[in-house]
């Protein structure tokens, strides 16, 4: 198992360097000069442009700039934002818990609803429930996030008044950030109603962000279950007279889980992407909005550093998924 883990870990290294290169190149390939964007309509003189260029190091050869970036990264220095002048590292870790909290809640929402829905659909293949579920999943998958979020806000916050419109917690609560996770911090604060307010604020964004993974997980579970249900050993289990719950839950689901876990792992990347829109609409102070603003402002250090950290996070999640495979299916780790 350790050998399996190490071999997976080794694939990290080239991917990591690849990501540094891609993140460095990506923002530079886009048209638009950060100095010109910063100056706006006002513009700036050629002398001032040259001064700022030298200050930000843009006057040096591109390879030298990459080398400096890479050596900085290896020493844990991701540079400072052009805009806020704060270290990228500090900004990332101030915002990342909010994204992670939302992504986890969205994932819980997607898995808790998606898995059973997929199983029930597979067991009832071709029946009304199956058909309804699969068409709903298709709609969910194709839903424009922006529209879906505004619709939910207008109905549940505007008309019914059940949920708050946006933010992480009511502005009436004010306490120190200890972990960055609002659910935990609000509990630790001991203030009456703070935790419920945090939960309330999570409901709509989690539903919006979790909708696409929910649809994918439901469909994937259904097709994986259908495949397993046609296997000989399931027929044998049924022939032995095992209860349907035991057959489906114990024998079929465990084997159907492997592709489902792959999808869950891959969905983390999707969640990071979906976070950009969801965070913008719900004024959620996470890294999605931060990255989007930085791309528009051509804030090179933030885009480079942010992409790299997100990529590392997704890589860690996928590594965890690979290791989980090993646990679920011994055949994989012995291969």
């Amino acid at each position: 198992m350790i050998k399996y883990f190490l071999s997976k870990l080794l694939t990290f290294v080239p991917t990591f360097f690849g990501v540094t290169l891609i993140s460095f190149a990506f923002i530079r390939v886009l048209p638009g000069d950060p100095i010109i964007v910063m100056a706006g309509e006002r513009g700036l003189s050629d002398e001032r442009y040259a001064e700022l260029s030298a200050e930000y190091g843009f006057d040096r050869p591109i390879l030298v700039q990459y080398w400096d970036y890479l050596t900085g990264v290896l020493q844990g220095d991701l540079g400072e934002s052009f805009v806020t002048k704060k270290p990228v590292w500090d900004e990332f870790f101030a915002l990342f818990p909010a994204t992670l909290e939302l992504a986890l809640c969205a994932m819980v929402f997607a898995v808790v609803l998606g898995l059973p829905a997929g199983v029930i659909a597979a067991v009832n293949r071709g029946k009304l429930f199956d058909r309804t579920l699969m068409s709903t999943a298709l709609v969910g998958y194709s839903m424009p996030i922006f529209w879906w979020a505004l619709l939910l806000i207008i109905v549940f916050s505007g008309n019914l008044g059940w949920t708050p419109v946006s933010g992480r917690i009511s502005l009436l609560y004010y306490f120190d950030t200890l972990t960055g996770f609002m659910l935990i911090d609000s509990l630790l604060s001991g203030q009456d109603g703070a935790f419920m307010s945090a939960v309330n604020h999570l409901v709509l964004p989690s539903i919006v962000l979790g909708t696409i993974p929910l649809a994918v997980i439901a469909r994937q579970t259904r097709s994986a279950m259908l495949e397993v249900l046609s296997e000989d050993y399931i027929r044998t289990a049924r022939a032995k007279g095992l209860a349907p719950v035991e057959v489906n839950g114990l024998h079929a689901l465990r084997n159907a889980l492997i592709p489902v876990i792959t999808v869950i792992g891959l969905s983390v990347g999707t969640l990071m992407g979906g976070a950009i829109l969801t965070e913008t609409i719900f004024s959620w102070p996470g890294i999605g909005k931060w990255m989007l603003d930085s791309i528009f402002r051509r804030d090179y250090p933030v885009v480079q550093g942010g992409l790299l950290l997100i990529a590392v996070f997704v890589m860690i999640v996928n590594l965890t998924v690979d290791v989980l495979y090993g646990f679920i299916n011994p055949k994989i780790r012995k291969r």
Binding site: K85, K86, A98, V203, S283
Partner: protein
Amino acid sequence: MKLKQTLATGAVLSVLASSAIAAPLVYCSEGSPEGFDPALFTSGTTFDASSHPIYNHLTEFVTGTTEVVPGLAESWEVSEDGLEYTFNLRQGVKFHSNDAFTPTRDFNADDVIFSFERQRLEDHPYHEVSGGTWEYFEGMSMPDLVVSVEKVDDYTVKFVLNRPEAPFIANLAMDFASILSAEYADAMMEAGTPEQLNQAPIGTGPFSFVAYQKDAVIRYATNPDYWEGASSLEGLIFAITPDASVRYQKLKAGECHIMPYPNPADIEAMKSDPDINVLEQEGLNVGYLGYNTQQAPFDNVNVRKALNMAIDKQAIIDVVFQGSGQIAKNPIPPTMWSYNDAIEDDPYDPEAAKSMLEAEGVTDLSMKVWAMPVQRPYNPNARRMAELIQEDFSEIGVDVEIVSYEWGEYLSRSRELDRDGAILLGWTGDNGDPDNFLAVLLGCDGIGNSNRAQWCHEPFEELIQKAKVTTDVEERTALYEEAQVVFKEQAPWATIAHSVVYMPVRPEVSGYKVHPLGGHIFYGVELAQ
């Protein structure tokens, strides 16, 4: 059902909580500030969160107007040659305090000197702190203009300039000229944390900084010692809400009291909502179509005038601004002093325009119109505006190709002297002085930079240069009025529109004034409980 109950309980809890606790004013701001030291940055969002609530300036704009009045300087004298400005400073003004700093003295001349010298002197210990890019100070030509800032005594400061500059007093009311505490700066430098000046600001303004969580919330406390009298608000909160539709929903739900930048399409619904009052004022801005006057056939004034006559501006106001704008006939907005209302706009007359072009021998003209890729107060939808102009020009036989680039590219390429075609762009005033429009956008020095028409016209230049060094306001007014006449005759731009700024507020808010310079200012606002 269970979920529904939980949600409903939560909502009730928040309502109960809100009625139990005395509420501060909540402003749903449109974005996060870049920092809290206004001199380091250029965006209005940053100034709203820093310069207006936290700091004061030597001179101040009266909220809701561009009139300049004494601020931290009680009075000033200008030498006869216009080169020396001596400011008498206000006494007894207190700085805020925070966990790391408690001031031991009141505001004095050292603070003024520190606030300017850190921007001006390259060897100042704070010149490079927090990136040290003083873009507004540079942009207003302060490094060339100011020769020295001298302390005469604790409450007297003298600025020496190297040329007379009439807008100087207005410049000192701008955000970059915010007065910071020299004592705090020294303390932070000694503690090895000079960047705290930008991150945990200390000023003399009506609200003191409490906490900031990026992309979420900024909290301020009311300054009980404020020299103009403490605000009646029990604190101020910026709830950062980037999406305009969501801001609207929050305002409706009572989660905030004031919101900026509504979607033009929502204005009508807001006006009919009894829970929302929509305040409005003409913005201090202008949107224009600038020809490249150095390129044929746009170097011919009659061609430019003919094209101007072909544009149906009213259609643009109706379609692009959805009514929230007014036709521009001058390069400065009507709310600005020296606006020449006697000038008549070019009539919309496609037939006459066509004949004029023919008379100039211009037939089968093909041109480019540049459309900005971003939304601006002076132009909410440049692409749509370009399409309308394309249609108007096609009626007089001019073929238009619409081009657009990424914003940075757009700004950069449009500066080039050989730029092909006319460009849609605009400007929002910084200091309420006509010089800030006419010299920046149409002066000879701006060619290849902010003068996108690449237009240098001697009679116009003489007028604006003379006005710049004249201190008498009446005399300046006459010069600028004359300059607008010259502008209209020469038509380097088609002036398109001035937008109207809307501020939706809750009915319990009173005393809010829409500021023509674009800032959002909450001192003087009251909240009914």
